[in-house]
C-alpha cells in the first residue's frame, strides 16, 4: 500500500471523482491559482481548468448558495471553506437550504453537495480561527457529517461523500494535512456511517475522531505502559453515527470515555454519552466520561492554547477515573 499524506489523500479523492464525473467541480477561495490555502487542491486547476476549479471572492454565503443552486439542477459541487470557522457566515445556506430543500420540495430536488475544509484549531490562530463546530452540523437533519482521522479514511470517505446524493459536511484538520498513512491502491470508497476500531483493547473504550484521535493514540501508549489496554473506536462519521460499533465495544469493556476537541457544553460527545448510558446502562461499571477543550474562546498564547485543548494526560486521567485507579 502506498504511504501518502492526508492532504494528498483528499487531493486524490477529488481528482479521481472529477475524472469520473464531469458534473463534479471544486469551488472556493484560493482553490485554483493559489493551489489551495493549504495546498489540498494542488495541481487541480492545471488539470481541470478554471471551469471546474473555481476561485471565488470572499463571499461564503454567496458561493455556498451557488453550490446549493447548482446541486439542485444536477451538478455535484465540492465547496471548500478555507476553514470551517468561516462557515458561520454561510451556515444559513447549509442549514436552511442545503439540508431542507429535499424535504420542503416533497423529494423533488436532491442536493448532492460536499462542503469541506479544515475544522478545529491549528496553532495559535486565536479565538475566531480555532473553532470545532461539528456539534452544530451534527445537530441538523438533512446533513451528513464526516470527520476522518487518517489518510485512508479521508480518501475513501471523501469519494463516498462526493457520490452521496445528500449534503455532506466534511471536516478536515489543518494539523492533519501532513500526517501520512497507508492508503489502499486504486479505486475505493468507505461507506458513510461505518465506524472503525483503530486499536483493539479490553479495559476501556475510547471513542474519538479526527485530530483528537491522535491524542488518544498517544494516551493509549502511556496507558499501555501502566498495563491499561484501551480500545479506540473511531466513528469517522458523526451523522449518521455507527452506534453498534460503540455499544459492542462498551459491552465488552464496561467503560467508556469520549474524546473530542471543542467546547464542552452540548458537545457532540455528550450525544454519544447519552446513547451509551441509554443502551448500555447495565454494562457500565463507571459513568461515561467526555474529554473536550475547555469552555473558553481559544486564547492566542501557545501555553494557554495547550492548556485549553484536550491533552493525552487528560485522556489518561479520564480512563483511570473510569477504572477507579489513580
Amino acid at each position: 500500500m502506498a504511504v501518502i499524506s492526508y492532504r494528498e489523500a483528499l487531493n486524490q479523492a477529488m481528482t479521481e471523482e472529477m475524472e469520473r464525473d464531469p458534473n463534479v467541480f471544486l469551488m472556493g477561495e484560493e482553490v485554483g491559482h493559489y493551489q489551495g490555502a493549504y495546498k489540498v487542491s494542488q495541481g487541480m486547476l492545471a488539470r481541470f481548468g478554471e471551469r471546474r476549479v473555481v476561485d471565488t471572492p470572499i463571499a461564503e454565503c454567496g458561493f455556498a448558495g451557488v453550490g446549493v443552486g447548482a446541486a439542485m439542477v444536477g451538478l455535484r459541487p465540492i465547496i471548500e471553506f478555507m476553514t470551517w470557522n468561516f462557515s458561520l457566515v454561510a451556515i444559513d445556506q447549509i442549514i436552511n437550504n442545503a439540508a431542507k430543500i429535499r424535504q420542503m420540495s416533497g423529494g423533488q430536488f436532491t442536493i448532492p453537495i460536499v462542503f469541506r475544509g479544515p475544522g478545529g484549531c491549528a496553532v495559535q490562530v486565536a479565538a475566531q480561527h480555532s473553532q470545532a463546530l461539528e456539534a452544530f452540523y451534527a445537530h441538523v437533519p438533512g446533513l451528513k457529517v464526516i470527520m476522518p482521522s487518517v489518510p485512508s479514511d479521508a480518501k475513501g470517505l471523501l469519494k463516498a461523500a462526493i457520490r452521496d446524493d445528500n449534503p455532506v459536511v466534511f471536516i478536515e484538520s489543518e494539523t492533519l494535512y501532513s500526517v501520512t498513512g497507508e492508503v489502499p491502491p486504486g479505486e475505493y470508497t468507505i461507506s458513510i456511517g461505518k465506524g472503525d476500531v483503530k486499536r483493539p483493547g479490553k479495559d476501556a473504550t475510547i471513542v474519538s475522531w479526527s485530530k483528537a484521535l491522535h491524542t488518544v493514540v498517544e494516551a493509549a501508549k502511556l496507558l499501555d505502559k501502566e498495563g491499561i489496554d484501551v480500545e479506540i473506536v473511531d466513528p469517522r462519521t458523526l451523522r449518521p453515527l455507527d452506534d453498534e460499533i460503540i455499544f459492542d465495544s462498551v459491552r465488552k469493556t464496561h467503560r467508556c470515555v469520549v474524546v473530542g476537541e471543542g467546547w464542552p457544553v452540548a458537545h457532540f460527545g455528550k450525544e454519544i454519552a447519552y446513547r451509551v448510558q441509554k443502551m448500555c446502562l447495565d454494562d457500565l461499571d463507571a459513568p461515561v466520561e467526555v474529554v473536550t477543550s475547555e469552555d473558553v474562546p481559544m486564547p492566542y498564547a501557545r501555553n494557554l492554547e495547550l492548556e485549553v485543548l484536550p491533552a493525552a494526560k487528560d485522556v489518561v486521567d479520564a480512563v483511570k477515573a473510569a477504572l477507579y485507579v489513580e
Binding site: G62, M72, M104
Partner: protein
C-alpha cells in the same frame, strides 16, 4: 410621507402596443392567479389553510409578464410570496391549493406549504422563506447553465426589503463577476411588512445597486403586464445571448396585508385606493377591450373558464388526502 413613492417612474409614452393574443393570454394568467389567491384567502379564513399566507394580489403583472418572457426550459427562483410565480411557470391551481391545504396531492406533497412551492418538471425552483437566501441559489442555477453551456436563463424574484441583506449582495456580486445568465427582478411593492422603503433604503431606486457591480439595470412601473413582458424580455435575451445579468426594479403594490395576519394599518386607505385604480388585472382587461378590441363574449368565456378552474382546484384540494409521510424526504437513500 409614503405618497412620494406613488410617483410614476416613467411617462406613459413607454406603453407597449396591445397585442390581442399575447395580452389575452397574460390576462388569463393574471386572472387565474387573482382568483386562486382569493380562494386561498377564503380558505384561510375558514381555517383550511394554516401558517403564513402571503398573497400577491395587486402584483400579478410582474410575475406573469416576466415569466412570459421565458422559455419552458428556463428557471424561476422566488420568495415566499410565490403562488403567482409558480402558476405562471406552469404549476396547476390544483397542485398549488392542495399544497396550501396541506394535502398529499400538493405540489410539495404538503411538506412545504405556501412559502415552499417547488415544481421540478416546470423548472420552478421554490419558494424560500429566508429573505435574500434564495439569491445565491439563483446564481448557482445560472452557474450550472453556464457550466453546461446551456442557453437557459434564470429569473430571480425578490422584494425591495430583501435588498439590504448580505445574501442578496453576495449572490448578485458573484453573478456580475462571473457573468451568469440570470435576471434579478425586484418586486418593489414599497413595503417590507410594515416598513416603507424610505425607512429601509438610503437609495429608493433598487436598480442603482447594479452600479456597484457594473451590471445592466432597468426600472419601470409594474401595472402594465405588456410593459413588464417587453422590458424583462430585453434582459432575458441579454442573459441568454451575452450571458449578462441584469438588475431590474419593477414598482408594484400589494392590495392585501403582508400576510393574512397583517391588518396593514401602516398604509392609508387613500394610498391603497390610489393603487387599486392601477390594478394590473383590470388594466389588462381595459386595454383588451379598448385597444385590442377584444369582444366581451370572448372575455366572458375566458372569465367563466377561470372561475371553473379555480372552483375545481378548491374542490380537488378539499377532497385530497392529507399529507401522510415525511421521513423518506429528509435523506435520499
Amino acid at each position: 410621507m409614503s405618497t412620494r413613492t406613488l410617483e410614476r417612474i416613467e411617462p406613459r409614452e413607454r406603453e407597449v402596443p396591445a397585442d390581442k393574443e399575447l395580452l389575452s393570454k397574460l390576462y388569463r394568467q393574471m386572472l387565474g392567479i387573482r382568483r386562486m389567491e382569493e380562494a386561498a384567502a377564503k380558505a384561510y379564513a375558514q381555517g383550511k389553510i394554516g401558517g403564513f399566507l402571503h398573497l400577491g394580489i395587486g402584483q400579478e403583472a410582474v410575475c406573469v409578464g416576466a415569466i412570459a418572457a421565458l422559455r419552458p426550459e428556463d428557471y424561476v427562483v422566488a420568495t415566499y410570496r410565490e403562488h403567482g410565480h409558480a402558476y405562471a411557470k406552469g404549476t396547476s391551481a390544483r397542485a398549488i391549493l392542495a399544497e396550501l391545504f396541506g394535502r398529499k396531492t400538493g405540489i410539495s406533497k404538503g411538506l412545504g406549504g405556501s412559502m415552499h412551492l417547488f415544481d421540478a418538471p416546470n423548472h420552478f425552483l421554490g419558494g424560500y422563506g429566508i429573505v435574500g437566501g434564495h439569491v445565491p441559489i439563483a446564481a448557482g442555477v445560472a452557474f450550472k447553465c453556464k457550466y453546461l453551456e446551456e442557453k437557459r436563463v434564470t429569473l430571480c424574484f425578490f422584494g425591495e426589503g430583501s435588498s439590504s441583506i448580505g445574501g442578496f449582495f453576495e449572490g448578485v456580486a458573484l453573478a456580475a463577476l462571473w457573468k451568469l445568465p440570470v435576471v434579478f427582478v425586484c418586486e418593489n411593492n414599497l413595503y417590507a411588512m410594515g416598513t416603507p422603503l424610505y425607512r429601509s433604503l438610503s437609495v429608493e431606486d433598487v436598480s442603482m445597486k447594479a452600479l456597484a457591480f457594473g451590471m445592466a439595470r432597468d426600472r419601470f412601473d409594474g401595472d402594465d403586464v405588456l410593459r413588464v413582458h417587453g422590458r424583462i424580455t430585453e434582459a432575458v435575451e441579454r442573459a441568454r445571448d451575452e450571458g449578462e445579468p441584469t438588475m431590474i426594479e419593477v414598482r408594484t403594490y400589494r392590495f392585501r396585508g403582508h400576510s393574512m395576519s397583517d391588518p396593514g394599518q401602516y398604509r392609508t386607505k387613500e394610498e391603497v385606493e390610489e393603487w387599486k385604480k392601477r390594478d394590473p388585472v383590470s388594466t389588462a382587461r381595459r386595454r383588451l377591450v379598448e385597444e385590442a378590441k377584444a369582444d366581451e363574449e370572448m372575455l366572458k368565456a375566458l372569465e367563466a373558464e377561470v372561475k371553473e378552474e379555480i372552483e375545481d382546484a378548491v374542490k380537488f384540494a378539499e377532497e385530497s388526502p392529507p399529507a401522510d409521510e415525511y421521513l423518506p424526504y429528509t435523506y435520499k437513500e
